[in-house]
Symmetry: C2
Subunit: 664 residues, 2 copies
């Protein structure tokens, strides 16, 4: 009864309505029968941050108790965030997993079609309205775009993670830890080259293996390097000159360095720089670049790792350059594995937050969706699947359209985790479908053309080819798909019906319109019901390709079966990289395509379902620690810029109330 009243208050309040009073309501729902959601709703305002602020989040220790965490499994960070320790996985190892739902999307407009709000709306509906335990697992947003063009990324309207300013700012410091680890490794590379170039073998060796308090010994990481070099000695005095040479010199070829420095700032002037120009660096200048922090391979590792031990191994395996003989040089060779693991020891723990309706959310990792796999962490999903219990649901999200984010989710993330997804929710909007049907360009910042704000059934019908294709891509993996039509107020009932009809005809298990953005969880109840049914369907999940296939063959399978390309064409540089990685023993890794998300093809302007194109592979790179090869389809920017008028013009802090303004 209480719950119903609360929901009604929430749903009866259109988000733009200005009410002169506020209403408090409290409702109970079914997280193990004990999830008590207290909330206080002020419907005074209309922007995302104002909605976020109007809801007082419950204390995170209360939330942690509600979802069954023990006190020593939780590390509180202030009132609204907590890190969850991995020991929980050991405690709950015999607990069966819940259902695993992926939210993906059709090929989007540059504005995005609302996968995050669907994810949050869906768990709000499941937990707070259908009494089914559920968890949302989301990516941590980069701080760069928050102050640049994009603004925050906590969902929106009445389907948000709160407090959104905590979600969008430092959170619990994971991206900062990645930055620190990434840049320590970068500094170690250049410093090592300088030291090797300015010292004899003997001097180098004496410094690397010094006498300390009269004793000379190798450190553990140096002994490991000796073993890799086939030297079984442990007494520093017993190495031959040749062995000293092999041990002390990494002999890095500066022109092959692939490890870049990072900052979590949109700083376009760092896209190409020259480093080492001070006199102290003795002329060892070279050209380099900074990427945005979330493009670091360490972020991709954080998202894919399954334990502290596994993370440490992956960090050690990261290849940063080749030596002058063409052999890979790793973080382990530089002696920095342990330090990187130390810097990342807290970042490996997922961060617990809550939705606007008080249901639990994990925020953990946010790798790039082009040069990396664009999915939140394996560990958050695994922990959440234990916490929700066998009948519960974990909902996570894949970056970009299903052709990119979902394909990587299945072939890379599910391979790393061993988890089997139950359902795919494919998010579509009438707006994006009209664009695919031949509607005019959609550009961020410019007002939408009338085709998008008035009914146009023909454009919708024509554009559904993209939806149909993305449904077919999902079916390649044997997982049932539910289409979630994210409804805007300008969508007509006929347009909505048409999309749902075509979706079902195209093989979707179901297709339902959703109003979570304006109505919260209640607006996604039908979607939640459809997802619950679909999760009980027969599931014949399979990967798209075998890892044993040659690199080029794996790329071709993705290009043809997923993108619909006629074939692929490798540049000579790409072919030579493929040959190199194969020779170096990295041929059995999965593929992480770096392709535009604005088209199924490599050409952003080709909407709908392009055919007959040859996908050009300009280069091929590798993230050996993360565990994938990434072919570049065109150039990918790894450092956004600031526009003439960045978001920060509107961002302010009230020094009295300590409230953040202008984040949205």
């Amino acid at each position: 009864k209480l719950k119903e009243t609360a929901s009604q208050i929430l749903c009866a309040a259109p988000w733009t309505l200005l009410l002169p009073e506020f209403t408090a309501a409290e409702h109970l729902c079914g997280h193990k029968g004990q999830l008590k959601i207290s909330w206080l709703l002020f419907v005074f305002f209309s922007s995302d941050i104002e909605i976020s602020r109007a809801q007082s989040p419950k204390a995170v220790d209360v939330l942690a108790k509600e979802i069954g965490l023990l006190t020593d499994e939780v590390e509180i960070y202030g009132q609204t965030k907590a890190k969850v320790r991995l020991s929980l996985l050991e405690r709950l190892k015999d607990q069966p997993d819940g259902k695993y739902v992926l939210v993906a999307g059709i090929t989007p407009t540059p504005l995005g079609e609302g996968k995050s709000t669907v994810t949050i709306g869906l768990v709000q509906a499941l937990t707070a309205h259908l009494n089914i335990n559920s968890f949302a697992c989301l990516r941590q947003p980069s701080q760069g775009p928050t102050f640049g063009v994009k603004g925050g990324a906590a969902g929106g309207g009445y389907a948000q993670v709160i407090p959104m300013e905590e979600f969008n700012l430092h959170l619990t410091g994971d991206i900062h830890a990645i930055t620190a680890a990434n840049n320590l490794l970068a500094a170690a590379i250049d410093a090592r080259i300088l030291h090797e170039n300015t010292q004899s073998d003997k001097a180098l060796y004496n410094r690397l293996v010094p006498v300390v308090n009269g004793v000379r010994g190798f450190s553990a990481i140096q002994l490991a390097r000796l073993r890799r070099l086939g030297i079984s000695k442990t007494d520093p005095g017993s190495l031959t000159e040749e062995e000293i040479h092999k041990f002390a010199r990494l002999d890095i070829d500066p022109s092959t360095i692939t490890w870049q420095r990072v900052v979590d700032t949109n700083d376009r002037f760092l896209r190409k720089i020259t480093v080492g120009q001070a006199n102290t660096e003795k002329g060892f200048v070279r050209q380099a670049q900074f990427d945005i922090a979330v493009a670091s391979e360490i972020m991709a590792i954080l998202a894919l790792t399954t334990s502290l031990q596994d993370m440490k191994e992956r960090l050690g395996k990261m290849v940063v350059a080749n030596d002058k003989k063409g052999e890979p040089v790793t973080a382990e060779d530089l002696g920095v594995t342990g330090a990187l693991a130390v810097l990342m020891k807290d970042a490996i723990k997922p961060t617990l937050m809550q939705t606007l309706e008080g249901t639990p959310v994990f925020v953990h990792a946010g790798p790039f969706a082009n040069i990396a796999h664009g999915n939140s962490s394996v560990l958050a999903d695994k922990i959440a699947l234990k916490l929700v219990g066998e009948k519960g649901f974990v909902v996570t999200e894949a970056g970009f359209g299903a052709d990119i984010g979902m394909e990587k989710f299945f072939n890379i993330k599910c391979r790393a985790s061993g988890l089997i997804p139950s359902v795919v929710v494919l998010v579509a909007t009438v707006r994006a479908l009209k664009m695919h049907g031949g509607g005019p360009n959609v550009t961020a910042g410019a007002p939408l053309k009338k085709e998008y704000t008035e009914e146009n059934l023909q454009l919708v019908a024509d554009g559904c080819c993209n939806l149909q294709k993305q449904i077919q891509i999902t079916q390649l993996f044997g997982v049932p798909v539910v289409v979630a039509l994210n409804v805007f107020k300008t969508d007509s009932p006929a347009e909505i019906d048409l999309v749902c009809k075509i979706a079902k005809q195209s093989g979707a298990f179901d297709a339902v319109p959703c109003d979570h953005w304006s109505a919260g969880g209640r607006g996604a109840v039908k979607l939640a019901q459809a997802v619950e049914k679909a999760a009980n369907q027969k599931n014949s999940f399979k990967y798209l390709y075998s890892l044993e296939l040659p690199i080029v063959e794996k790329i071709r399978i993705i290009a043809q079966k997923v993108y619909g390309a006629q074939d692929i064409e490798l540049s000579p540089a790409a072919q030579s990289q493929v040959d190199r990685y194969t020779r170096q023993g990295f041929g059995n890794l999965p593929i992480c395509m770096a392709k535009t998300h604005l088209s199924l093809s490599h050409q952003p302007e080709r909407k709908g379902v392009p055919t007959g194109f040859i996908l050009p592979i300009s280069d091929v790179r590798a993230s050996i620690g993360a565990g994938f090869i990434y072919p570049l389809v065109g150039t990918m920017s790894t450092m956004p810029g600031l526009p003439t008028r960045p978001c920060f013009y509107d961002i302010d802090l009230d020094p009295i109330t300590e409230q953040v303004k202008g984040l949205f």
Copy 2:
């Protein structure tokens, strides 16, 4: 009784002794009669991190309660760290302050003489042994040196902050927040120059003041800029072309940019770089540099600010460059003040930790001691002075020797806070005194010469001139001084007596040997008693110079009265900067000398008390937001490097126990 037993266990255990059992003890002491210190001591190991780990810290929420914090004044970060909200200052505003003690030092060897361990030993003695409420306020160490040469900075032996790995690593993210804020501003500068150079006045204005949902308006920060420009209009459509030009163009002269990017990593290859070399930046390359994060002016601001409002104002006032007319361009002009304040909103809250003996510590801010003032935060001191109560003690520390850190503490930090120090503790070692007396060079990494390990009364007696001079410097400020002789095991009783005798003859209120490093608080009980007595002495604290004096005059006073220089000599560049700052209205700021800490003079090799030298001022710079002018005496490196064998070779993480190894 219990307390005594506990102390005896602690003190009876020499830090190198290997005991086959561990002992648990619990004792009560007098923090408002309720400070209950639980501790568990394993004396298995000998390195700092092993001592740190052997002591289980009490839960930080327990500590917070013991020292009288209310639940809503504390933001817990994990089990052992918490941030304290500034609202406490309002609640306790009528509470009288405690005594305020500064720990400074004589001119040190490159190894440092133990100011941090004295600070911690002293509060351990006061609180856990003399039942007097006390607080240590320390600087947060930079993460760069932790992985480079220096290792951790949490004190050492039995006078440590624990857990030392938390202290030395990310802590609660303040330095990361500074990095983010600093680099957002840096990115904004270059992006703004690019946008101004590639757009007409009109295009620039249209982008800066766009039509949003049919409405065009200035943001709050833009209205403030209009007011500064003397334009009182508020309708964007009403500006004249000239006003649009003035408003839209900052017209930054790239050659005058003083704002640098930062990373918290020892990355020597970033000391001098060229940025903007990608095609997207259209040829606007320029030479720049990265500093280590703690060298950021934002760090200096964090250390000097007194409230959120004050911090926001200081951030806005930071001068980043001059325009082409020679007028200063500020963060406020770039529209980024609010965003910087938002990024720093949590960093402004001091972090609560504890000593090895369970007494409270604030860790907050850690500005460079050369280009900045090298003192921890005003806010931590202010909060701690309220918490300890009228009879309690707050002990804080100033970087480098008293000629640098203490002088800045008095003239810069005390001016910002309005607080009046009660006592100065001047730390000396027999080792440093012998060096000043003509002993051989002391170098980091090399074994000490026998002069330092065998009794040599003559060297000690000759070197006491430096101690005497530093005592005299302290007396310039009218504050009583207690000399703390930090005893090493090689110091002979005669050497120790000699130093104490000379110190007292030279005007010290008292001089006592301390064994806190090997014996914890018990080893500093005599020091604590002397400090308590000195705090009741007549105190006639005064600043060294009036702010109204011309910049050059203020520099001369410091050089002559503190350093003992005959005079100063400004380079033409320095003189022209002085003229510029004076003209720009910044002449009334205090002075923050950037001078070597290894000599009272500008020449590191001149030990003892150099005389007859002319102090050369090569350049003069300004941190307008932090609020000081900093003359450069020689070149100051603002970016350390990594040696051939960095500390990280020994740092590792045990993936099973999650313990950090090799930090020390």
